[in-house]
């Protein structure tokens, strides 16, 4: 299409369909426009109403999530959530998916996912201080898994390392349901001053609209639309729609933006992410209740012959759109010149509440803003609840192998093997504030210049959500809460990254609805609101969907880093104490999956009241300095938890068995709301637990160089370490 063709391209039903709009939606387009749209306008409707940008299937349910607390400064709806962490500072954070691009082109897909989420955070005036991720790959044996894992990890590292933001945590799962749709969710936490946070609502008629950052190229056109459709065998042909990242430019953009933000020149700012210039300009205008005139020929272009259509839909990375105060253009440009970045005034704010696109003086598009941005379609999709599964009776499982052999198998399994191979490829130390490194429950970074710490974690147990979306949704939030508590942090808020299959299938929609319900209940009970999030639907290939994966990113605050906890057993620890009650839940456990070969049963239920009591107790014990060693009990159960604590501290333990009841359930049940702590002062801990009405029991003693069960059966830490550390490097070294 040559650049002046935009009024002559016929809008055929095929073209409308190619743009992902159904008949109903196109009828609404005609109604809103009062005429047939031209190709530029059609393209804009297409991306703005894509599932990715409009949340049309999920909005109804997302609205039910609790988003408020005294410390919430900004909940969902901005580029990232903002919470108050005291002393005039705020934590700004969000998690976002880049699933579809990462499957097609793992390095660039993952890299630009990381780049995008960092922009979301620094566009609000925050310096990114920590990155995390939540990754899901297909089964290890699948021919694509190694290639995808290696590309994704390199991409995450390639971008985050160059940006100088430490990657301090994450999680990685393998399951056949992700064979055709991997999940790459990236989270960034930033620090800002509470009196210098930037928002996206445009204001001031006549104010200049300014474009900064990289030039616009043809990459990523229709990325948002791609992310809103199922995959099929031809999806690899969509490789050209994957954006290409340039972390060096983003590093310059970060520094330039923060330098500009230290002045008083910005009215509003928004990064150009999915749907690029279209989505950023519409969102800014819509939030501010103003109109915009854009001079598209002024946009810095990477290639010759680009059309208005391409400029509006490109997802080229490392770009920002700003509204400046009048007369500030030259001073602002000086900063971007210093950082050798493009700076162009590409439009102005108007009072028309319309988006008028100009191309060398000619009108290339003229659309009302609110109906596109705010009044986008919202669906109440039909949904079916997931049928409940029966609880697994713990006495029905008799041990086929010794407990130590089961431990050895589990700890070397793809589900539990060490992820060191991954996180050693991420710079997790840059900035010099990393206090708790990856491999523990949550990563911790010091709030620079203070003695406070920010703890952050990502969590979800998809097999629980699959079996029971409501309990699984609760569990994801509860586990994030627990992982923060285990470092001594007070959990403050979460970001949710909802990865699901095709919402047009009632069963899948039912998973989404259930997970939202569970997440909501847990957020309320734990005082742990949602402040930002992202939805990724249509994670299906050839009709096969992923396990529902609502990944939760949690952030908490450690008020005094002098009192924090890590998972490794320390020299002066003597007793091991389990906090929280054991009921013997083997449904959906890794023991059942790995040792018995059964993926079934009801997942462990989450008692949110007990969760809160146990969490409060554990945090107080850490704050008091009574506990410096703590690990939550999660995948694999008690024995795996203790083994991980032993490996991290290089000190063994002897574990008692219960006098009655199933040993398998005791050692391998995945009952929720539990922690193992190690202490030299067990009496004080038990007393405190008694007063707090929290179950606590001594489960063993620290010491030696083996993991021992009841003074008998044992495995040395060196053997255990080899098993735990060995799987991933040898898996990745095998020829594909």
């Amino acid at each position: 299409m040559s650049s002046n063709d935009f009024n002559s391209t016929p809008i055929t039903p095929e073209l409308v369909k190619e743009h992902g709009l159904n008949e109903e939606e196109y009828k609404l387009v005609l109604e809103i426009m009062g005429r047939e749209p031209n190709i530029n306008e059609l393209g804009i409707f297409s991306v703005m109403w894509s599932e990715h940008c409009s949340y049309k299937s999920s909005k109804k349910w997302l609205k039910t999530l609790p988003t408020k607390a005294d410390w919430v400064i900004q909940g969902p709806g901005e580029n990232a959530g903002v919470i108050d962490i005291g002393d005039g500072q705020a934590a700004v954070f969000k998690m976002e998916s880049h699933n579809h691009p990462s499957f097609i082109e793992p390095y660039q897909g993952a890299a630009t996912g990381v780049g995008g989420i960092m922009r979301d955070v620094f566009t609000m005036g925050a310096r990114p201080v920590a990155n995390l991720n939540a990754l899901r790959f297909g089964e290890p044996d699948h021919p694509k898994t190694r290639h995808l894992l290696s590309g994704v990890v390199e991409g995450i590292g390639g971008y985050g390392n160059c940006m100088g933001v430490p990657t301090i945590g994450g999680e990685t799962n393998f399951h056949a349901s992700y064979n055709g749709n991997i999940l790459v969710n990236a989270m960034t936490v930033g620090l800002a001053d509470t009196d210098n946070i930037f928002y996206s609502a445009a204001a001031g008629i006549g104010n200049p609209v300014v474009y900064v950052g990289s030039k616009t190229g043809r990459d990523g056109i229709h990325g948002a639309t791609m992310a809103s459709a199922e995959f099929d065998d031809d999806s690899e042909e969509k490789r050209p729609t994957v954006q290409v990242g340039d972390p060096f430019t983003e590093k310059l953009l970060l520094e330039a933006c923060l330098e500009l933000m230290a002045t008083d020149m910005i009215v509003a700012i928004q990064d150009m992410g999915a749907a690029g210039l279209t989505s950023s300009s519409f969102e800014m205008a819509s939030k501010g209740g103003v109109g915009v005139e854009l001079w598209l020929d002024k946009v810095p272009m990477r290639e010759e012959g680009m059309t208005p259509y391409e400029l509006m839909l490109s997802e080229s990375q490392e770009r920002m759109l700003m509204v400046l105060k009048p007369g500030c253009e030259d001073a602002a440009k000086t900063i971007f010149d210093k950082w050798e970045l493009d700076f162009a005034v590409i439009g102005t704010l108007t009072d028309t509440k319309r988006m008028v696109l100009k191309w060398h003086g000619e009108v290339a598009g003229d659309l009302p803003i609110d109906p596109l941005a705010e009044a986008s379609p919202e669906y109440d999709r039909p949904w079916e609840p997931t049928p409940k599964q029966d609880r697994i009776d713990p006495n029905s499982i008799s041990a086929k192998v010794s407990h130590i052999d089961a431990l050895k198998t589990l700890i070397a399994s793809p589900d539990l093997a060490s992820r060191r191979w991954i996180w050693e490829q991420y710079d997790h130390l840059v900035r010099g504030n990393t206090i708790v490194r990856p491999g523990g429950d949550a990563g911790v970074v010091r709030v620079e210049g203070t003695n406070k710490g920010l703890a952050a974690t990502t969590d979800c147990t998809p097999r629980y959500v699959m079996a029971d979306p409501v309990e699984g949704g609760k569990q994801a939030v509860a586990e994030a809460y627990r992982n923060l508590v285990a470092t001594g942090a007070k959990p403050l808020a979460i970001t949710d990254n909802m990865n699901f299959g095709n919402p047009e299938r009632p069963r899948i929609m039912g998973q989404f609805v259930g997970a939202c319900q569970g997440i909501g209940e847990a957020c309320i009970a734990l005082d742990f609101p949602v402040v930002s999030g992202n939805v990724s639907l249509y994670n299906e290939t050839n009709g096969v969907g992923i396990m529902p994966t609502p990944a939760i990113g949690g952030v908490g605050l450690i008020s005094d880093l002098g009192h924090h906890a890590t998972i490794g057993i320390k020299r002066d620890d003597s007793a091991l104490i389990m906090i929280g009650a054991a009921t013997g839940e083997l449904g959906q456990s890794l023991y059942l999956k790995t040792i018995e070969g059964r993926e079934e049963g009801a997942p462990p239920p989450v008692d949110l009241g007990a969760e809160k009591r146990a969490g409060t107790l554990v945090r107080e014990l850490i704050e008091l300095g009574l506990v410096r060693t703590c690990h939550d009990i999660a995948d694999g159960g008690l024995l795996v938890t203790v083994a991980e604590m032993c490996l991290a501290g290089n000190i063994g333990a002897d574990l008692h068995l219960p006098e009655a009841g199933s040993e398998v359930a005791w050692l391998f049940g995945e009952d929720q709301g539990r922690y193992v702590i190690a202490t030299r002062d067990p009496d004080k801990v038990l007393n405190a637990a008694g007063s707090a009405n929290v179950a606590a029991v001594i489960i063993g003693q620290a010491g030696g160089d083996s993991v021992v069960i009841d003074g008998g059966d044992k495995v040395s830490l060196s053997e255990l370490r080899e098993l735990n550390e060995g799987w991933m490097p040898s898996f990745m070294a095998e020829a594909v």
Binding site: F248, T249, E424, H428, L429, V430, E448
Partner: protein, 229 residues
């Protein structure tokens, strides 16, 4: 005691360098922009780590041609204590202030982890607070730390006591198994002929606080300060 930290576009460990220098000197270092042509009066020059110019050409190659590097070379020639860490080491080799080159890690992967190092020469102005042969622990975080020089150069470096740090294990064993990135002769840090310029891949600035998990890096900065005062 004055120190200066050189900033190139894409440098990202300046924060860490500033903290270490501030701790050792008691004063804020001066930040010097790559486009400047003059250095302030300073006792210590530090070229920090990161990805100058994105490392899109050879690591450090473009930064080495920055206007400020002429001034850095001049001061180094005058004997001012100059340290380059990680990307800073790469820049100093590209600028010809140190011999050799840093190639891609033998594993071809970025490596971020703690490593043990043997202080081979404790008589330098960077290491004189360490004992001879002392084993210290600093983190590394790099993709291109694989030190290479021809064997004549290596022999000369060894002969002149200019190999300052070598990768080793906790017991000080230096062998291929403890060579984390494929460096010739496990070399992690070297000095110039005059002994006032140090280049090293590991990050002593990330081991200066008990909360880092170790403080072995402190003595390196303290040594520089004592030598310069």
């Amino acid at each position: 005691m004055k120190s200066a930290v050189i900033l190139f576009p894409g440098i990202n460990r300046e924060n860490d360098a500033i903290a270490a220098l501030k701790q050792a000197t008691g004063t804020e270092p001066t930040l010097v922009w790559h486009g400047d042509t003059e250095l302030p009066k300073t006792d210590i020059i530090m070229v920090p780590g990161g990805f100058s110019y994105g490392d899109y050409l050879r690591c450090g190659a473009m930064a080495a041609k920055s206007p400020i590097m002429r001034a850095v070379a001049e001061r180094a020639k005058q004997g001012v204590t100059t340290i380059g860490v990680c990307n800073g080491f790469q820049i100093l080799t590209e600028a010809g202030l140190l011999p050799g080159a840093l190639m891609r890690n033998a594993s071809l992967k970025f490596i971020c982890k703690n490593t043990h190092l043997k202080v081979e020469n404790a008589e330098t102005r960077f290491t004189n607070l360490y004992g001879a042969g002392e084993i210290v622990e600093y983190p590394v975080a790099h993709h291109d730390g694989n030190y290479f020089a021809d064997s004549d150069t290596l022999d000369r470096l060894e002969g002149e006591g200019r190999v300052v740090l070598r990768y080793c294990d906790v017991d000080g064993k230096v062998d291929p198994a403890t060579n984390l990135n494929g460096s010739q002769r496990n070399i992690a840090g070297i000095i110039n002929e005059a002994g006032n310029v140090l280049g090293m891949m590991p990050h002593p600035e990330n081991a200066i606080d008990p909360l880092h998990g170790g403080t072995d890096g402190r003595n390196l900065f303290k040594s520089m300060v004592e030598a310069a005062s």
